[in-house]
Symmetry: D2
Subunit: 336 residues, 4 copies
């Protein structure tokens, strides 16, 4: 049995509490939040969990094996660091930290203490994303040309963390997972319409090897809720619409065939082909449940999580490059 402490019971914390509570092999032992009224809610729903307003109580408790951190991003690093130093396994909500230096320090610490460090890139545990990955790996899409994602709606506004750091980690983690590569360069544009200096709209392009592109549009200022990613391959194309009720993934037998004309060197003809559309049945398991179960399994077996510290660092590196490009109004910035 893995005894887990949840730190942060605000916007996302209740979802983590519910899932930790229900994952076999895990126990929601402690819940910590600075706001006592939220803890009253915890008491009501999870009467067997201990509550506290002080993180120190969590570090000090020998009954806690692992810590799940769902606080505002600004505190991720300090809390994760303290938890690791206290010998706890750690699952941090995305982003892992606010700089690659911080991320590297956490990785080093976890390695040194042989503790699990995992970041909550939930979409990597989403059955729809796993299905797309499977289609790509089977070669069904042919050569993957490019992908683009739209993740917009009205609200929820963050006061201090821009939409790049708070929303785009989702898309970056999906693109890294699907393409299996880091991008070489990033170009990003955007603006802050509500609060100066906190971008609420961004357009980000990731340049992967071999000309593959990943493009993300994220915004808090949009009339409708859209969560849609299109992946364009030479043989098939996929639309993943997370808001669609009838089927989240549509696989289109569509493409453009390049026919070598033969006679003159380099002369090609292009033939459109369009065929059936297929909506595969997707396992309806909750991604966050899968994520929590994976964390518990890694803690029990001492294995590396699919979204480990390194993966968290990769996403941060891309965010850092995007942030610099944003400040240069789109000029490409290398991902180091």
């Amino acid at each position: 049995m893995v005894n887990i402490a949840l730190i942060g019971y605000g916007y996302w914390g209740p979802n983590l509490a519910r899932n930790v509570h229900q994952v076999p092999g895990a126990k929601l032992a402690v819940c910590c939040d600075a706001d006592a009224s939220r803890l009253a809610q915890v008491n009501l729903l999870y009467p067997l969990a201990t509550v506290t307003t002080r993180a120190e109580d969590v570090w000090a408790s020998p009954a806690v094996d692992a810590v799940v951190i769902a606080t505002p991003a600004q505190s991720h690093f300090q809390l994760a660091k303290a938890a690791l130093e206290a010998g706890k396994h750690v699952l941090v909500e995305k982003p892992l930290a606010l700089s690659s230096e911080e991320a590297r320090e956490l990785i080093k610490l976890a390695d040194a203490r042989k503790l699990v460090l995992m970041v909550g890139h939930t979409f990597v545990y989403n059955p729809a994303v796993l299905k797309i990955k499977e289609l790509i790996d089977q070669g069904q899409l042919g050569d993957v040309y490019y992908a683009y994602s739209t993740r917009v709606n009205l609200g929820r506004l963050h006061r201090d963390l821009n939409v790049l750091w708070s929303v785009v980690p989702h898309d970056i983690s999906i693109l890294l997972f699907l393409f299996g590569h880091m991008p070489l360069e990033v170009s990003a544009r955007g603006n802050s319409y509500l609060k100066s200096g906190v971008e609420d709209v961004v357009f980000v392009s990731l340049f992967f090897p071999n000309g593959v592109m990943g493009n993300v549009h994220a915004s808090w200022l949009d009339p409708s809720k859209v969560r849609r990613m299109t992946i364009v391959g030479s043989q098939k194309m996929v639309i993943y619409d997370d808001v669609e009720s009838e089927g989240k993934i549509k696989v289109y037998e569509k493409g453009v065939l390049k026919v070598d004309h033969g006679e003159i060197f380099g002369e090609f003809q292009y033939k459109l082909h369009t065929g059936d559309i297929h909506i595969p049945k997707i396992d309806l398991s909750e991604p966050l449940r899968n994520e929590c179960a994976h964390f518990v399994e890694c803690v029990e077996k001492g294995t590396k999580p699919r979204t480990d510290g390194e993966n968290g660092l990769q996403v941060i590196k891309v965010l850092e490059a995007a942030q610099r490009s944003l400040e240069k109004r789109g000029a490409p910035v290398e991902v180091r």
Copy 2:
């Protein structure tokens, strides 16, 4: 009665022929195309029109008052120039030409000869776009923050003209019309997946004064046909979906109110407000019909078209900046 010669009866020409034929005050007098089999089709549908494979016949004919040019973009400049030199009024399909030098030469020529020079930015004659312009000008959207447009589908591929020059002029002309300004800078990214050097996917951002942004995603490599533009204002937001059958424009009473907190300088609170959605009835007239009627009216009255040579030049300037930015993988390029 304005006697019109149509040059180019390929992909788009038949639509122009049909509309020219039906506009009151105009007559489709001549149709010119290099391909005789297309002219046979013209003979069948418009038995009263003269056909020819030689543009020179058009220039020489005293029976021709005005010329509509719907050939591949590479020949726009030469044909428009020859037509103006022959004393004909000219309507050219977009883009007006392939460089701002060429565009300027055409403008000068038309001015000198007091001839109408118009470019076929059809969307500026689209009742849906006119309705959005009206809403913006009435101040109903409040401050316009940004707009983004998606114009994608599978095919129709161009062999030599990239998607920036062949598709994006639509969106640029809409954005210039709606915002009433030229952008200061452009950042563009994209790639050519089918034929090296001919981009089939682009993401373009236009930076307008006061932080207003216009963003365009255009592609020939997409599983579904999308023609959608979203305009985000501080008071209301509009989605214009040209493929939607029930109503092309949705006006959302949605926004984020910035409430001055008062106590501390610069501290604001943000309040989401969401209200009704309104789908105004839009006049169903065909945009191309309106465009042709406008051309005929300008010829008859000697007035400046709404999309005159200057407007054609403005769009080309933006395209040129976008093309340079594309080559610099997103680095911002000033629009001169």
Copy 3:
């Protein structure tokens, strides 16, 4: 404070428990279910509620003021009767009972004891339905001609109660509420494809005074989940789609105007008119919450519920007529 006992914690009971628990002025005092494992779940979520497998405990408890019955329909009558006899106020899930005799007996009993008897016709507490009622009562739709409703999906199958008695009460209660009348006649058709004698597909037409029709299609055997009602008036038309996320009600300024031609008696001309479409913002409160709050208020103030026993009886009368018509393959049956 109204102390409430919930009887039946199966499919729908948990929703009632949650809402009773959260309505101000109410307390979930007791929960009764024959299945002890369900009661364990209750203990977990509502540690302060007493649980029991015996309804007799509820009747006997002086701490219980009111009873909410969410058991299979076959037991509604017996349990409601026993509850009333024990002096408890009663809210029964729909249908109130399985015959009008039973319904009349419950009404008489409640009247005699001055107890509240309410039936859970939830849609009458649904803000979208209330909005449509408002539009009709304001005369905005003009003359209401007819309405039709589709309530289909795959599953949830009932073994013994057909789709007419288990699903159609929703639509009947909505139609009675919107039209403010009882139908004169009913015609119903359907079939049982899975279990002989238990119809899983029905088409029901209600004939209201003045030619107004209400039509319902309900099924458990359908590939997609549809919950949509269309109300056609002479001036405006409304589509109410309960599955639509962007706006549940669309009001169409559409109609056919009958223009008296004048010259010849009885000669009319018909003019289609189509205008804007309006999607009013609908209060997002949960209908079941509103229903529970209404019950508590009626108990506290001793007032008649909007969906009282009489209303429950009305719906049953229509169901009885529909059942007889079903057996006669559509022949119209008078509603007594």
Copy 4:
């Protein structure tokens, strides 16, 4: 070469003219309409066709092999009869006639003279309907349980022919084609809201052998245009949406499996199964083109059309039963 005369160039005639004109092996030789202004339009579009306002000219012309009748339904019988008597092959728009007696007379006449008599049940030539037929015949749907169709929109109103006779023939012809049977009984309900005695809204149920049902809702008084049919089988289900642009047919791997419980006689368990959804690519050929080509082929080869006079009679028999049931407010009427 089959020389064809078209009688009636009103609402639907222009579509027939265009297709007859383009079918290989056919020639639009004559066009007849009482309205001379419509014939002027014919002259413009088909300069080689002769025009006339008198049907007698058509009967008398030896240059006419076959006649296509697209006049109001009230004149179908008289015109078809005259055409057959004049020795012409005949294609009549649906319905073939307004009574089964009339239909039988036409059949007898065509048989006696060895002429082709065909009725324009277009949907039987629609690739989407053919695809569904193929799926049913291959047994992919398992046992077909029932189908229901919604064919509604605002307008186009008929003054004298109700929605049953003018719109529902489409659905009846599809259902007869798909199920390969005549229904035993019909129940129909409806009302006339605009013009007394001319129903503008009907709900029709066809009872086929083995409990299979076909249900049709047709209306001219509806806020949105719907053309959708759902076919429910024990193994798969199909939604055919003629308005959908992305794919007209969706095949759902959905059903309810009846599992014999074994122990007690007649006890079954029901298991929902839901799998993938498939959108097969459908040939985009125009149904009316296929219909016209089929007519020409039958004339040339002297073969029976798929929708011959008998088929036209079958649809009329169902309409007659439905009309009688309509007058009895839903009482089932046997189809003789």
